[in-house]
């Protein structure tokens, strides 16, 4: 009797013990730095003119009411992330749906899915340099070459405010849509084919099947994939840093680049911390809203 009670306590305690290392890591690398960042954000700390001085919420007030550059970075970050996530969802779904078609051979589908993994194993910075030099660059890149062959005008990444944004967006969608495709493919594979057969018998068109059957079934998977991609897109850094350095002007500067520039180029550590913290709050609000809206 005592032995079985002890075993039962062990079984109840085991899940907590099992997740203890992960919780410890999250606290060490997540919670403690977040608290330190918040404390730093309440200080005027110039890295080349120490020490730090407590100034309360002055950094936050300046960022939100006196710094149009930061407000532009915030809006660019959110709008870009929304656009990128939306396009990746559409593109990823189309790829997954085509690969999951029962008429597509399993070998071919496996090969394509393996190739789709390539963007994950290459460092984002390496891919960014590839896009900058070998694709977009009008002197060294092959995009211009193919546009010339097709008698189309060249694409100047650094012209106006639309081109740089579109250039980064296209690169991001090409790199990240495969992630959505792989996740959605798993969901599509789990749909009972009998449902599709039944829909065919009832005379449903392909579009009706997608809208009335497929999407409702895989909606939870789509939500998770969208949230993960959205959070990734919000904190994007390498791609913008390499391709445009936030330019021309501040056109493509997002919050990550803004904060890094403030901290390590201008040495305004406290200001950068406040910028990052405002953004953290915004991300938490946005993600919470998405999770609730699509539940």
């Amino acid at each position: 009797m005592e032995r079985s009670a002890f075993r039962s306590r062990q079984d109840r305690a085991f899940p907590y013990v099992a997740i203890l290392p992960a919780v410890a890591v999250i606290i060490l690398v997540g919670l403690i730095p977040a608290i330190h960042t918040f404390v730093l954000s309440l200080e005027s700390y110039e890295l080349i003119h120490p020490p730090a001085k407590f100034i309360g919420l002055s950094n936050y007030l300046d960022l939100l009411f006196n710094n149009p550059r930061y407000l532009h970075a915030l809006s660019f970050t959110v709008l870009f992330a929304l656009a990128a996530t939306g396009l990746e969802l559409v593109g990823g779904f189309i790829i997954a749906y085509l690969l999951a078609d029962r008429d597509v051979s399993h070998v071919y589908s496996s090969l394509i899915r393996t190739l789709l993994m390539v963007p994950f194993v290459v460092a984002p910075i390496a891919v960014s340099y590839t896009f900058k030099t070998l694709i977009y660059d009008q002197t060294f890149g092959y995009l211009s070459y193919f546009l010339r062959l097709l008698a189309l005008p060249p694409f100047n990444l650094f012209h106006g405010t639309v081109n740089p944004t579109v250039g980064i967006l296209v690169m991001e969608v090409i790199l990240r849509a495969p992630f959505i495709a792989i996740v959605v493919y798993a969901g599509l594979s789990s749909i009972d084919p009998e449902i599709s057969y039944a829909a065919d018998i009832d005379g449903a068109s392909s579009l009706q099947k997608i809208v009335r059957i497929v999407l409702p079934i895989i909606l939870p998977i789509l939500i998770v994939a969208a949230v993960l991609r959205f959070m990734d897109a919000l904190k994007m850094f390498d791609e913008i840093y390499v391709l445009t350095a936030g330019g021309p002007g501040y056109t493509t500067e997002n919050v990550s680049l803004f904060a890094v520039t403030q901290a390590f180029s201008y040495f305004h550590m406290g200001y950068a911390a406040a910028a990052a913290f405002v953004f953290l709050i915004l991300v938490i609000i946005l993600v919470s809203y998405f999770m609730r809206a699509f539940r």
Binding site: Q138, T139, P248, Y266, F267
Partner: protein, 460 residues
């Protein structure tokens, strides 16, 4: 029992994962070549083995001269018995990492590369160890052999902050005018000495390209916005115009003056008219690549970059490049840039660190290294037979000697600790002009407005 088994598996698994990650991360990054090689040469009259067994962590910038240092590291290790972990990072990340380490007080890195414009950022808060005491200590330095007087006065002055020597330079760098000797000869062009001559030469080259006589574009410049990218070239161009965008002593912005707009207009119109299309995110790497692959006929580039242009294995223009002082306005000069070695104030091995700095800037090592990187800080290097033989041409040496003695500005505004943010602002507005978003007048006014927010005053 079942719980204990699970717990043991969990703990063992965690140890394996953490240990494996530690091995993985520890195996990359730092390099420490084995102690091989000879240490021939005159190394002065000190006991180089006095810190035998110590270990030094060195953070250097990834550039050709650092690769040359890496090849000589085994000699230092054999000479001193000191182990060296030599880490290379690109300039921007090296700077940030060094600054974080210096400000943390942890002394992870004993020695670091100090770029000229890093000096005040590092030395201002007292992060660098003053070196006079080491120079004056007979146990640590053979002053006669080391011969600090071998440095041109403008070059060694770069290592001083607030009257203290905080780093010792090993390069003296500035911009030279690169041009294609073969194209100039074919088109009967002369080397431009003024900005007007440069514009006229660019026009002739552009006309020749449009007529199909040459395929190269006339000009290339740094355009990627940022204080260390286009900002640097823009401020250097201003210096050659005998002008400064910002007076950091009086905190006055001259960006929105007639001269400021003239410099901005010159810089951007040369790019828009004569540079290859779509180069808005080009920096020095792309310019060097374009020059080497016969895309561009003229550029201003660092004297230290000659090696990449003259390497026949990777450059189509090896042997065809001419070098001259960059075109300047009357009274203009090109900002000096130096790289040097400095010691972390919080280093736990300062004596050993000084031996490294002394070795790395010594006349013996410079005699051996200078032919490999071309822009030594010591004046005696320029007349050394090995150096002369290794350089691409006498024209290159003459251009350097002219710049060292007449052409450099040893106190450019960029050395100010306030340079980064202000130059970033000006370069970003410049990139707006390149992208066609703003004209010169609007860009200059907006740059000025942004600088006012930082506490600068407009010029009267």
């Amino acid at each position: 029992m079942k719980f204990m088994k699970r717990f043991i598996v969990l703990v063992l698994g965690s140890i394996l994962i953490v240990g494996g990650a530690g091995i993985l991360f520890a195996s990359g990054g730092n390099e420490s070549p084995g102690a091989k090689g000879t240490v021939a040469g005159n190394w002065g009259n000190i006991n180089w083995q006095q810190f035998k067994g110590k270990q030094l962590n060195v953070l250097a910038t990834a550039m050709p001269v650092s690769e040359t240092y890496k090849k000589h590291l085994p000699e230092f290790e054999q000479l001193t018995g000191i182990k060296v972990n030599f880490e290379l990072l690109n300039d921007v990340d090296r700077y940030k990492k060094m600054l974080v380490d210096l400000s943390s007080g942890k002394g992870e890195y004993d020695i670091g590369n100090i770029g000229f414009t890093n000096r005040e950022a590092f030395a201002g808060p007292g992060y660098l160890e003053p070196l006079e005491s080491y120079l004056g200590d007979q146990k640590l330095t053979d002053k006669a052999w080391y011969n600090l007087a071998d440095y041109p006065k403008d070059v060694i002055a770069a290592g001083y902050s607030n009257g203290k020597l905080v780093f010792v330079p090993f390069t003296a760098e500035y911009f030279l005018f690169w041009y294609r000797k073969d194209i100039f000869k074919d088109l009967n062009l002369t080397v431009p000495k003024t900005f007007e001559e440069l514009t006229a030469t660019a026009q002739k080259l552009d006309d020749a390209r449009k007529a199909g006589k040459i395929k190269e574009y006339a000009w290339a410049e740094r355009e990627l916005p940022g204080f260390s990218e286009a900002g640097w070239n823009l401020f250097c161009t201003a210096s050659r115009f005998n002008f400064s965008f910002i007076d950091y002593n009086t905190m006055v912005s001259n960006v929105n003056t007639a001269r400021g707009k003239e410099v901005l207009d010159y810089y951007t119109s040369m790019i828009l008219k004569y540079a290859p299309p779509g180069t808005g995110n080009w920096s020095w790497g792309e310019i060097a690549q374009a020059f080497k692959t016969e895309q561009v006929a003229m550029a201003t580039g660092g004297n230290a970059s000659y090696a990449t242009l003259e390497n026949a294995a990777e450059s189509k223009v090896a042997g065809k490049v001419g070098y001259a002082p960059p075109p300047m306005a009357p009274g203009g000069s090109d900002p000096l840039w130096v790289w040097g070695w400095g010691i972390n104030k919080d280093s736990h091995n300062k004596g050993a660190a000084w031996l490294f700095v002394q070795w790395a800037t010594s006349p013996t090592l410079m005699k051996s290294m200078a032919p490999g990187y071309g822009c030594p800080a010591r004046q005696s290097s320029y007349s050394d037979p090995d150096y002369v033989k290794a350089m691409p041409s006498q024209e290159f040496i003459d251009a350097q000697l002219y710049m060292l003695t007449k052409g450099i500005n040893p106190s450019p505004p960029m050395v100010s600790g306030k340079y980064n943010e202000s130059a970033d602002i000006v370069s970003k507005e410049m990139s707006n002009i390149i992208a066609g978003i703003k004209d010169v007048k609007t860009a200059a006014a907006d740059a000025d407005a942004a600088l006012m927010k930082l506490g600068y005053k407009p010029a009267q």
